[in-house]
């Protein structure tokens, strides 16, 4: 700064005129320097800035940059208004003064070097000016040599970088935020459980986003409406140990976490130290180095699940773009949490179903074991009884026969007939016993499943029947190559019974016809034995397969009532169905399958 020459009061009076003259010249010079006058006429000499210099001067004054001329030592010879504004100093004070005091102390050595260098060639650099608000103003400085008469000087252009530095900083912040969101996306995709997801997201927010603290809280629907801290990261995490928060509409719910949960909207507290809503946590936050905070609700279809809170040590953090990105991140995080919770619920439901199934299977197994034991016992009982019945039967038959042998001549016709009836009844009972034994044998024997050529079996059965009864003329139609899956000897028994019945019940039919074939019913192959013999009354078909049930009198068609019961047992053991239809015109058809129906059968 130029100190105007001080005149001491002891100056002699004859110097008064000289002093006055000097003052006048100085004022004139000041006027010229400051641009208040354009020309100075002194005697015959005219000093003028008009003419060639005027356009340049106007240009320089109109510039947005600070501009001027300086000596190699940094003395300002000329400066435009903008430069004075940037340095917050009256223009007239600037001119003639050194520029160094306005430059940040740390940058003065660099300035000196640039001034030396700039006297020779064009140089540029960045340094900081002191700003009157106490902050530093970033400046781009350009220096070029200026050929002026006298001592060499430099042309100086100073550009205020504050605005562009801010833009740059904002860009850098956005960039970091984008990197952070990208890292979080990776975590969201890769995380295997909720705890890991939340912790890694917090770590990425702090690590990639450069924030001081990030934490996730879950809104607990208890009376206090507390917020449970689920995950956190960052150098400021000590803060979390100090604080109490709630999402209730109380003073403890006024912060970013409580408000975000309660309102479902993001909230920024731009200045933690001054915002009255943050007064409950201000001291702890300041101690943890937190200057700004933002809370983002974590929305799920069932409502706000919790909150993502992020704090920065910088004031002015969380610009609009950052808020957009972080809100999106919070939504993604909420989606991730929902997905994990749903998955956990599914897993729990599945586990429950598994458990129920296992219990059910266990119960079924236990019942099956019980049932099998009961069945085995019953079958054994039937078998024993059947065997034990044979001995008395043999005595009845034997001794009635002996009576006939020994006393036959002494008995009259009626008496002999009575004895004969005893023997016929015995014979019938023996057949019943044999039937019972066969039936229980069918259930007890082990099922050996293989592919059976049913057509070949049917052919053999029919041939045997014909051999036993060569007089009969029956038209037999057996469809070729019908295969079935099952136990060969049991299926043989089925065909023996069904074809044997057909043979028996066509005994009184002229032009008897027996057919074995296969049709598809309910999606499964259904075998049938058809005959045109004496059918049965459909009203009694429910009794058809019952043990010892007969739909014909013995004198009509003899039988024991065991055959069809055996057939049904065998078919059931193959998980198939057997049923019959009879019609006086079309005859009788027995159907059977060897596997469960694919669709629900219509016939009962």
């Amino acid at each position: 700064m130029t100190a105007p020459s001080e005149l001491t009061p002891s100056v002699p009076p004859d110097y008064e005129q000289l002093r006055s003259r000097l003052n006048e010249v100085e004022a004139t010079l000041r006027a010229i320097r400051s641009g208040a006058v354009d020309a100075l006429v002194e005697g015959e000499r005219i000093y003028s800035l008009r003419g060639a210099e005027t356009p340049y001067r106007l240009l320089i004054e109109a510039m947005g940059e600070g501009a001027g001329t300086v000596t190699r030592e940094g003395i300002v010879l000329y400066a435009n208004r903008r430069l004075a504004e940037m340095l917050s100093v009256p223009l007239e004070e600037l001119i003639g003064a050194s520029i160094r005091p306005w430059v940040a102390a740390a940058d003065r050595t660099a300035l000196d070097a640039w001034l030396m260098e700039g006297a020779r060639r064009h140089v540029t650099g960045e340094l900081n000016f002191h700003h009157p608000n106490g902050e530093l103003m970033p400046i781009h400085l350009a220096l070029s040599p200026l050929e002026l008469p006298g001592s060499p000087s430099l042309c100086l252009v100073a550009t205020d970088l504050t605005a562009s530095k801010e833009v740059e900083a904002a860009l850098r912040r956005t960039n970091r935020a984008l990197r952070m969101v990208s890292a979080c996306d990776h975590i969201l995709v890769k995380a295997v459980d909720e705890a890991e997801l939340l912790t890694e997201i917090c770590q990425a927010i702090v690590g990639e986003g450069g924030y001081r603290l990030a934490w996730v809280g879950e809104a607990i629907p208890d009376a206090a409406k507390s917020i449970a801290q689920r995950a956190w990261a960052g150098p400021g995490q000590g803060y979390l140990r100090e604080i109490q928060v709630s999402w209730a509409d109380t003073e403890w719910g006024l912060g970013i976490a409580g408000t975000a949960i309660r309102t479902g909207q993001p909230l920024v507290i731009a200045n933690i130290t001054t915002d009255p809503r943050f007064v409950r946590w201000r001291d702890q936050a300041t101690a943890a180095g937190l200057a700004t905070g933002a809370g983002f609700p974590l929305p799920t279809p069932a409502g706000v699940w919790g909150v993502l809170c992020i704090y920065s040590e910088q004031s002015g953090a969380f610009n609009a773009e950052e808020m957009n990105l972080l809100t999106g991140l919070a939504n993604d995080l909420a989606y991730g949490v929902t997905a994990f919770r749903l998955r956990a619920e599914h897993a729990a439901a599945e586990a429950k179903i598994h458990q129920l199934n296992a219990e059910l299977e266990q119960r079924v197994r236990a019942r099956t074991v019980d049932l099998e034991a009961a069945n085995t016992e019953l079958e054994a009982f039937v078998y024993t009884v059947a065997h034990d019945l044979r001995a008395p039967l043999r005595s009845i038959d034997g001794f009635s026969r002996i009576l006939l042998e020994d006393c036959g001549e002494r008995l009259n016709l009626a008496e002999r007939s009575h004895l004969e009836r005893v023997r016929v009844a015995t014979l019938h009972m023996e057949q019943l016993i044999e039937g019972m034994l066969r039936l229980s044998g069918l259930t007890r024997s082990e099922l050996r499943s293989t592919t059976v050529n049913l057509s070949a079996q049917a052919q053999r059965v029919m041939a045997d029947l014909q051999r036993e009864d060569p007089e009969r003329k029956v038209a037999v139609v057996v469809a070729p190559d019908l295969l079935g899956q099952g136990d060969p000897s049991l299926l043989q028994a089925v065909l023996e019974n069904l074809l044997g019945n057909a043979w028996k019940f066509t005994a009184k039919t002229a032009q008897a016809r027996i057919e074995f074939g296969c049709v598809e019913k309910d999606g499964v192959p259904t075998y049938f034995v058809h005959d045109n013999g004496a059918g049965f009354n459909m009203a009694y078909r429910g009794k058809l397969f019952g043990v010892f049930q007969r739909l014909h009198r013995n004198d009509e068609f003899p039988g024991t009532g065991v055959g069809l019961a055996s057939v049904q047992r065998i078919i059931h053991r193959h998980h198939g169905r057997v049923w019959a239809e009879s019609d006086p015109v079309r005859g009788t058809t027995f159907y059977f399958t060897l596997q469960p129906a694919l669709t629900r059968p219509k016939t009962p």
Binding site: R394, G398, R401
Partner: protein
């Protein structure tokens, strides 16, 4: 009764005993029977124990007809005892029973039964069976007599 017996009939059912004896008699196949009413009596007879102490063990039956369901000692146990003793193991044993249970048939053959016959219920078939059985084992079949071990 000094004639050596030909058949040891082990049968607890008196009706069956009578029917069997009568059938053999009518077919004129055999009349020299020894009837044991339970398994223990059968073993006493064959090995000269109990009521049969002092019996000439050189005179063994040509055939044992053995029921399976017997009081005291059952038929399979009697069979095991006969077939595991050198003095009796060559005596033909025919199981004659009501049981057609496969397990019984198998057990009979496993213990060395020479034949297994299910008693027919029907009298005619019973007679036919006895005829075939007697003819085969008493007329055609050749047996070996084993010298009894010295007493003591």
């Amino acid at each position: 009764m000094n004639e050596p017996i030909e058949i040891l009939l082990v049968e607890d059912n008196p009706n069956d005993v009578e029917l069997t004896l009568r059938a053999f008699a009518r077919q004129k196949l055999c009349t020299r029977f020894q009837v044991a009413r339970d398994g223990a009596e059968a073993l006493d007879y064959l090995f000269g124990h109990g009521a049969y102490v002092g019996r000439d063990l050189g005179q063994q039956p040509k055939l044992v007809l053995l029921d399976l369901k017997l009081p005291k000692v059952d038929g399979l146990e009697v069979l095991r005892a006969i077939k595991s003793d050198p003095q009796t193991q060559l005596i033909p044993v025919v199981i004659l029973t009501s049981s057609s249970i496969e397990r019984d048939i198998l057990a009979g053959y496993e213990r060395g039964a020479n034949s297994y016959i299910v008693k027919p219920v029907n009298y005619d078939q019973f007679m036919a069976m006895v005829n075939a059985l007697g003819t085969y084992w008493l007329k055609f079949n050749q047996t070996v007599v084993v010298a009894p071990l010295p007493a003591g």
